[in-house]
């Protein structure tokens, strides 16, 4: 563990349509004035390289595309690592959960200290080769940005509380 600043990481492939919505969201977040308070990474398809990235932070917000194996998805969903590690076979799942779940399992098996991870899942509808988001998926980007901003503020409040508590 080295970084006290939270990390925001987008996962996905920009060349596969909505699959890259996590990265599109991070690119949108870069337009906000956040560089002083958080680190932002375009994680692309980093695969097992995520072990090094995740283990370097205390707090991580992962943004990824989600699809549904049954009913259609109504909106953005918030997951915890446990939702991925212990979820049922069917239901909502992150497109890169094979990757992310494997990485989390590997970290657990190796007793690598796990950061506090929150996963923001954005519904994807069109995952085909192509650059850019579908209209349906694109609509969720600003909502996801607002959610991340709220989460960052929450982290800041928690951090201040901790500092305040320790100085009492």
């Amino acid at each position: 563990m080295s970084e006290d600043r939270p990390l925001i990481i987008g996962l996905g492939n920009l060349l596969m349509g909505d699959d890259g919505v996590g990265i599109h969201t991070v690119n949108e977040l870069r337009k906000r004035d956040l560089s002083e308070s958080v680190d932002m990474i375009d994680g692309g398809t980093a695969g097992i390289g995520l072990v090094d990235i995740l283990s370097s932070y205390r707090t991580v917000i992962v943004i990824d595309a989600i699809m549904d194996r049954g009913d259609s998805l109504s909106g953005i969903k918030l997951f915890s690592p446990d939702d991925l590690l212990f979820r049922e076979e069917d239901g909502d799942y992150s497109i890169h959960d094979m990757e992310l779940t494997s990485v989390l399992r590997l970290m657990k098996a190796l007793a690598i200290e796990m950061p506090d991870i929150k996963i923001i899942g954005i519904p994807a509808t069109t995952i085909v080769p192509g650059v850019g988001l579908s209209e349906e998926c694109g609509r969720f980007v600003h909502e996801a940005v607002d959610l991340v901003m709220a989460m960052i503020n929450l982290i800041k409040i928690d951090y201040r509380d901790i500092v305040k508590d320790s100085s009492d």
Partner: protein, 429 residues
């Protein structure tokens, strides 16, 4: 004896594949390796875009081979525009190719191959039973990624590599940092050789055509002429005469052959063609690992990857010496003017020869694209290997047949996104 064997290949968004094998009375009635490869569509995506967009877009084709795709793309662009990069730029690109080959091979050896030898289903139980081994693999991969981070910002989708050179030229301090990372990786590499010295691989030999780049003076990863072990040698521009792509009904990926033979590309092919140019430490490792060349056992591709990993570390140190003595070198990138042209860029990606060819118009807009990826080149050869090995192992218990076929396909190191949770074998009798 009758079996319908379905090796179901679970993958994610990049595509998926299945091996369908139908055996009746000990004879193969049907054998298909069905693969869906999306990189074919990336070609269409490039048409109509500006040539400067080609390297960053193609770097996204693969998270494991981002440097290789970027390098092949840049070389194709430079060939089309008539740009000759400086010697120092080429040396830096060679170090980056070494780092990528190292990280990719280590990932395959430790996370996908090693569980086979410890008789566990995946790296997760291996991490529980032998955490030190898995941690060593992750350390080596991190070292290779670190080299890319220092030189080009990051490994996945590198940002400083561009047509004509680099947007940021590494400093002497950067080069020293890279040297330290390499030197610190040597003990872990030594342990890796020791680990694979004790590995018992199946005996299976089948002659095929081994294709790779070949250079006169050094072990070819970044540059060279096209070469196959039957003596065929030609300029990369003539690659369409060197290999032929075939449309296969059951696969969206084309199969590739050279003349009348399927081909093998990758670490073993490169070693068969270029052994004499390996660094001394890598030759020593080959000897310790029992790799005698030429070698026709595809399972030994795993061992060839260990040998190449050793070479990449020691040869990078040699390239660093050459770079350091040339410092300060010219600021890049080399300036250029847009013009109409056609260019071919070829490199040896971790899994084998990677081809990019672009046609551009006078405004620098891409008008035609052809990409041939290594995994596609190996598909026909994997089919031939399966056809040859199945009659030899039919008397073994089902579990052992499954294990051998999985190991055989894995030995070719198909793209990791296709090989995590690799082959689920189902017998239907």
């Amino acid at each position: 004896m009758s079996h319908d064997i379905h090796l179901h290949h679970i993958t994610r968004v990049e595509g998926h594949g299945n091996i369908v094998l139908n055996i009746k009375e000990g004879r193969i009635e049907e054998l298909r390796l069905e693969i869906v490869e999306s990189p074919r569509f990336f070609e269409v995506m490039l048409v109509g875009r500006h040539i400067t967009e080609a390297p960053p877009i193609t770097s996204r084709i693969c998270g494991i081979c981002a440097i290789s795709h970027t390098s092949a793309s840049i070389k194709a662009c430079e060939a089309a525009l008539g740009i000759t990069p400086s010697r120092e730029v080429i040396l830096l690109r060679k170090i980056l190719m070494h780092a990528e080959v190292l990280q990719s091979h280590i990932l395959h050896l430790y996370l996908l191959v090693a569980p086979d030898f410890f008789r566990v289903g995946s790296v997760i139980p291996l991490a529980k039973s032998n955490p030190d081994i898995v941690k060593r693999g992750l350390r080596l991969k991190k070292a290779a990624n670190e080299i890319c981070r220092i030189l080009v910002g990051r490994h996945v989708h590198p940002i400083a590599m561009t047509i004509g050179g680099f947007t940021r030229v590494p400093t002497q301090r950067d080069l020293e940092e890279v040297r330290k990372v390499l030197e610190m990786a040597i003990p872990d590499m030594e342990e890796t050789i020791r680990l694979f010295e004790g590995i018992d691989l199946p005996e299976f030999n089948r002659e095929t055509r081994y294709c790779s780049l070949k250079e006169a003076e050094e072990y070819a990863l970044y540059d060279g002429r096209l070469y196959s072990n039957d003596g065929k040698s030609m300029e990369v521009q003539k690659y369409r005469e060197f290999i032929t792509e075939e449309v296969i009904e059951y696969s969206t990926a084309k199969h590739v052959r050279s003349g009348d033979s399927s081909i093998m590309v990758g670490a073993l092919a490169r070693l068969n063609n270029n052994y004499s140019h390996l660094s001394d430490k890598a030759k020593e490792a080959a000897q310790r690992l029992g790799l005698t060349l030429p070698c026709t056992n595809p399972f030994m591709n795993n061992i060839a990857q260990v040998v190449e990993s050793v070479h990449c570390i020691y040869d990078s140190l040699r390239l660093l010496d050459l770079l350091s003595s040339a410092y300060p070198y010219p600021q890049s990138p080399t300036p250029y003017t847009l013009k109409e042209g056609q260019g071919v860029g070829v490199v040896e990606a971790p899994r084998g020869t990677l081809y990019h060819e672009y046609g551009v118009d006078e405004k620098g807009m891409v008008r035609s694209v052809n990409c041939i990826i290594p995994t596609a080149q190996n598909l026909a050869n994997i089919e031939r290997d399966i056809a040859a090995i199945v009659p030899m192992i039919l008397d073994l218990p089902k579990e052992e047949i499954e294990r051998r076929l999985e190991m055989l396909a894995r030995a070719y190191d198909p793209c990791i996104s296709c090989s995590t949770h690799f082959l689920e074998v189902k017998f239907i009798e």
